[in-house]
Symmetry: C2
Subunit: 764 residues, 2 copies
């Protein structure tokens, strides 16, 4: 843990007191989003202190020219960056002729920020003593409409306390923004121009290269003591920016409010030449509803989301806050409505890692969205990859693969690879298996048999073909080996016979063979279509079967465990617990070569395979491997603690499971990795959800039924979660001594608790 | 082979005919240097065509900010770049009011360039038809004084052939230059100002960060038909540049000549505030001698160099031209006078690879300089590393090593690492062994026992300490293993138990132990001094002995060869000969991951160890390993063919040895690797010398005596070379059927020819 200023609260993230050195951290933690857009909790008004300004629009990216020391064949030409979008939230303020800036106030009292997760609202309040001595009381509320997802709303109240005041609000929209993360310090936007229509302002900008066209717009209104004022603002306009100026004189204790509606309309959803009209339409809708109704709608929309997604934890408010924060952020990042979008590792909270889509989506996020939303959302995530299959085949061709072999990119925006470290880009190929596994996982959970014949089989085939070509026959071992890979544990590069990757390869090939036979038998028309397109033949499947059956797995007789890779036992196996504290985290303290040759594991690797393919191994095997690998694991990836939490719970090691749970659920709130100022770890938040549902709840799907092994951490009195299982909603309440179920649905549901059948009757 | 426009000639590199697309290639091939400075064969006059302008000053570099995709702990902050220096050669020319530019002439006839290697002169002549129709005959000669190494001289003759001409010469010096190879496109120089004193011009510039101060200077004279003219030039001056303007009117068939003296004086050799005076002194010396005497001196200096360094080959002019070109370039690059300097991979001919010093110096260049110059030169190369020992210890500390362990950098200018790919920087550590081996090699060849007690032992100790810490005990193998290295074959990264590296580590530790005992016994005062400084103890040596004795070497029973690394036999061992032609060179045709997992070898790796430590292995072992590894070798490093040529010759495979020889000696002349326009491969040129002396000559030093196994390639009638062996000069003449020796010295010399003793009497 690195910080603990966030006040424990079941439903809100709260900060009290204004500390300048926490500003960037809070900007990340109090970020808001609505799936279509989002931004860091930057102040609306000018702030001269240390800040990381960031607004983001889903799916709008920039292909920044790649930066490498030495170019290697096969590198992509660009690295897609999450794009810092134009600013719509800005409201500069002058009071009695002085610019208002929290950084230069004499004093800031009663500062309080609250991210109301229940209702989807960001509030900020304080009393500021201005350099002139004037005290003002401020309350600001901001939200991004969950239903009207092109709209954001702000109310900004100022009440002078000890004197009259001339208050000037200067709301603006500004497209002249720069990425913090830009390889060559270039601007990624070009101005298309700006426009003023009455009290509405619009700036239009287009990204270079990708040509995303965005209109950033606003309309404002001024109130005194709640009463709308008829003030005609003056306006200024440059090609990049529109700014209105509203001047108001008020007496002490009168409240002046500016209400700002604003947001983005984007050429991915509208014609590029109709964007201003589209923005006008959004504003018309917003004005018709009015601020109060928008607020009511916001609360309702979030209530609906929580109705399904909430997890309650009794007796441990920090754990409760942690899980709700995770669920809230996941829902802010991705709504599942749009198959073109995906879940970026930092969501709308920062720029690091670029791109939007990692294997995190399939391995960590899919289970969450699959269980807490309707199955269409999960299917959209699969469709995203199906739509990018051609690009994955091209990507594999660039690396020398043939015959429709597909290698999905490590990081992508549009299906093209945009990562450029050879040891990751070319070698961390287990990502390909996560995508196949997601198809299996989706089908297993939802029971939707239609995806595979309609689309999934082609994806599975491309992936299986890749694996078949990626292994080679070792005349020495008389088996197929896989050379030169990086497993999920990125603290090993270019290793041979990584157990995880080899196991995944075998599984993918076998699953493809099984599903090809299934489609051939049960969906002959689909099979004919796919065969015509892909030239899949029985001979190819037979060959693949032979390869899959003869994959080599490194194994130690001495320890009776599969080895993470060839030669693993040559390493010094001193456990992490014996490392001096000042040596950690090793990724900050050790040189890269030392990390590589150490046995230390960044995140679950062999154990990740045990997580995916749990049913293939006995509990005894799991225990043996957990005891071998976990002590060597430094958990320096945000994706690490959750898998270990689940496995520790599965093994009944509740204290350890609980520790891992806290680390994953409060990773950002408590800033374990000292990097929350860069943004939040969105994708690992889904791992937190899994820790509860699959870890403490022990939920699995086997043979079309739900299985539970509920285990309550000692610290908790109880917990509950809901899952949408095949269109019936099951609530699971785990309490001391008993587990109860509530079912919203029409049919009784058979579930298994520690392998004992329980029939749950619809109760709601 | 990629080009063959260079005309075969025993003593000169000659190009005939003006082809614009050969300009950059010829700029490399016709480069001149004198150890202290050098430049590409850029035209003196303005040239608007495609050109790579480059002038370089030995030891003057720039620490360019490192460029990496993702930063890793331990990376250096900068990458030292060979610095493009100010221009002293420039002479712009206007004829009848038109700028003279070979790129825009109507016609260029009888164009001829000759690099006269015997005398160290670069000549260019042609007849140009100007756009106006005027024909001019031009002859230009340029040389860099071999003795006065801050001075260069140019004579530039113009003779109008078919009309009178107004000829304006505008000689200039200009410090406003940019590197082709600059990570961030920055200028590396700042101007300190310029000065004109009579007909002398000076510009002073200083490198940012490193603060090398350089005055670039010139003085000119004009001649008509050889008669000096009293013309007072007009002059212009900016902070970056001084230019004089000489205007002359001549009749058809009169020859106008400008004579330019110019060059650099540098703050590494003079006080920074006395540089202009230093330049004036050089000019005074040059003027006192006069151009003709300078020319005579130049011829004499090169005659002296050739007297010792020449190798003759009879009956094969291309082979003769190749070896002389290599010897010439090596002597242009490094004179051995200055222990602060070293041999950059591109010398003064280009910027690629940055830095000046690689392991090439010790592994490839030392034997050449050791045998063809006096032993002080070779010792200077060792001293260079001794002087950088502290930096090597710091470098190792940065990576986590302790107790005086030293890791010499992969690439350096001043002892600090400036390479930044982890797989090279942190892992290609065999370079460390090359430096220890050079100490051994020097001592063995020169018989100079004093270097080790005076300096070498400290270097050997730092290196041995590194190896001892770099291996770790494998409880699995019950031996010491070395994980995560890159061997000389850079087509493998991060491998375990690279035979070459492990063998080197063992050898270094054993050699240190042996030499420590030697110094302790025979130079007790030196030992006491070193022990006080380094804390070397018997206990440490005993521990080291134990480690060295238990190093693991990967070995195949099946093939009876040491394996390049663990797991090598898992690879597909299809020989290079079965690769389709369009797949090669694989570094241009294959993705990096494919190269890595292939068995293909960039350059000698296991065989490099067999080269270093030949006496440790039998000829049968050499043959077995050569037959195993050479067929898998793609020779895509310039350092590869020479080692294979030597080993093929050693095994009596003369046809193969000859093929490798041609490839190494004419690598640049015939542009085998399609990159000569970027500069020459200077360090591999020493490998060419080794191919003849150690390959065809079979020269070795054992037990303080010279051994030869002369083998003549079928294509040759004979060859000869000279070596300076312990201050006697032995000339070896290998002819069909017999090998004869000539000795310049005072004592009879016992040598061995195929292990038969021959006593050579001093004959000269």
């Amino acid at each position: 843990m690195n910080q603990d200023y966030i006040i424990p609260n079941a439903w809100s993230i709260i900060e009290e007191g204004f500390e300048k050195d926490r500003v960037k951290s809070s900007e990340s933690l109090f970020s808001i989003g609505n799936g279509a857009m989002g931004q860091r909790a930057n102040f609306e008004e000018f702030y001269s202190g240390d800040t990381f300004q960031g607004s983001y629009i889903a799916g709008v990216y920039y292909p920044d020219k790649t930066k490498v020391g030495w170019w290697k064949n096969g590198y992509p030409e660009y690295f897609a960056k999450v794009l810092n979008a134009p600013v719509w939230i800005g409201i500069n303020i002058e009071i009695n002729g002085e610019q208002f800036d929290l950084n230069t106030c004499k004093e800031v009292k009663n500062f309080r920020r609250e991210l109301n997760m229940q209702e989807g609202l960001l509030d900020r309040s304080f009393v500021a003593v201005l350099p002139s001595g004037l005290e003002i009381e401020v309350f600001v509320r901001r939200f991004l409409a969950a239903d009207l997802d092109e709209l954001g709303a702000i109310k900004y109240d100022i009440k002078p306390l000890n004197g009259d005041a001339n208050i000037v609000y200067k709301p603006y929209v500004d497209a002249h923004v720069k990425n913090e993360d830009a390889n060559w310090e270039e601007i990624f936007w070009e101005s298309i121009g700006s426009e003023i229509k009455g009290e509405q302002g619009f700036v239009q900008a287009r990204t270079f290269k990708t040509h995303f066209n965005v209109v950033t717009y606003m309309e404002n209104a001024i109130f005194i003591n709640g009463e709308k004022q008829a003030i005609t603002p003056s306006a200024t306009k440059t090609e990049w920016k529109v700014e209105f100026t509203y001047e108001v004189n008020v007496k002490a204790n009168e409240t002046v409010t500016i209400q700002k509606f604003g947001g983005y309309v984007v050429s991915t959803n509208h014609k590029a030449n109709e964007l201003v009209t589209a923005a006008e339409n959004v504003l018309a809708q917003a004005n018709a509803l009015g601020y109060e109704q928008l607020l009511t709608n916001q609360k309702q929309a979030w209530a609906q989301t929580w109705e399904m997604a909430d997890i309650t934890i009794d007796g441990d408010v920090k754990a409760q806050q942690g899980i709700r924060f995770n669920i809230f952020q996941l829902n802010q990042t991705y709504s599942g409505k749009d198959a073109r979008l995906n879940i970026g590792p930092k969501g709308f909270t920062g720029e690091k890692y670029g791109g939007s889509t990692y294997w995190d989506t399939e391995a960590y996020c899919l289970p969450f969205y699959m269980a807490t939303k309707n199955q269409e959302v999960a299917r959209n995530l699969l469709t995203y990859r199906y739509n990018q299959l051609d690009k994955a085949i091209e990507n594999a061709e660039k690396l020398g693969f043939t015959n429709g072999a597909a290698l999905y990119p490590m990081v992508t925006m549009n299906g093209e690879e945009c990562h450029n470290e050879w040891e990751i880009t070319f070698e961390e190929i287990h990502r390909n298996a996560a995508i196949a596994f997601a198809v299996f996982n989706y089908t297993r959970f939802t029971g939707d048999e239609s995806y595979i014949p309609e689309a999934g089989l082609e994806v599975l085939l491309g992936i299986a073909r890749f694996w078949k070509q990626r292994v080679n026959w070792s005349t020495d071992k008389k088996q197929y080996v896989m050379l030169g890979v990086t497993g999920p544990n990125e603290y090993e590069n270019n290793v041979n016979n990584n157990f995880h990757s080899n196991y995944c390869a075998q599984w993918c090939m076998n699953y493809l063979i099984e599903q090809a036979e299934n489609v051939k038998t049960n969906y002959p028309e689909d099979f004919a279509r796919i065969a015509a397109k892909t030239n899949i033949t029985d001979a190819e499947l037979a060959e693949m079967k032979e390869v899959a059956a003869n994959i080599y797995f490194p194994y130690s007789e001495e320890f009776d465990v599969y080895l993470q890779q060839d030669g693993f036992l040559d390493k010094d196996l001193t456990p992490v617990s014996e490392l001096a504290k000042e040596e950690r985290p090793i990724n900050q303290k050790w040189s890269w070569d030392r990390i590589l040759r150490s046995a230390y594991i960044k995140q679950a690797d062999t154990l990740q395979a045990f997580y995916y393919f749990e049913d293939d191994f006995s509990r005894e095997q799991l225990e043996k491997h957990f005891d071998f690998y976990e002590p060597l694991t430094v958990h320096e990836s945000s994706l690490s603690p959750c898998v270990h939490s689940i496995q520790a719970a599965t093994l009944g090691r509740m204290e350890q499971a609980y520790t891992f749970y806290l680390r994953t659920s409060r990773l950002d709130l408590d800033d374990y990795n000292k990097e929350v100022h860069e943004g939040l770890h969105i994708t690992s938040m889904a791992g937190t959800w899994m820790s509860i549902v699959e870890g403490f709840g022990g939920m699995r799907v086997k043979n079309d039924a739900l299985y539970f092994e509920p285990r309550l951490p000692e610290q908790w009195e109880g917990f509950s979660f809901k899952i949408n299982f095949r269109n019936q909603i099951l609530k699971v309440n785990v309490n001391k001594g008993e587990t109860t179920f509530e079912l919203e649905g029409t049919e009784p549901l058979e579930v298994y608790v520690f392998d004992q059948k329980v029939v749950v009757q619809p109760s709601i």
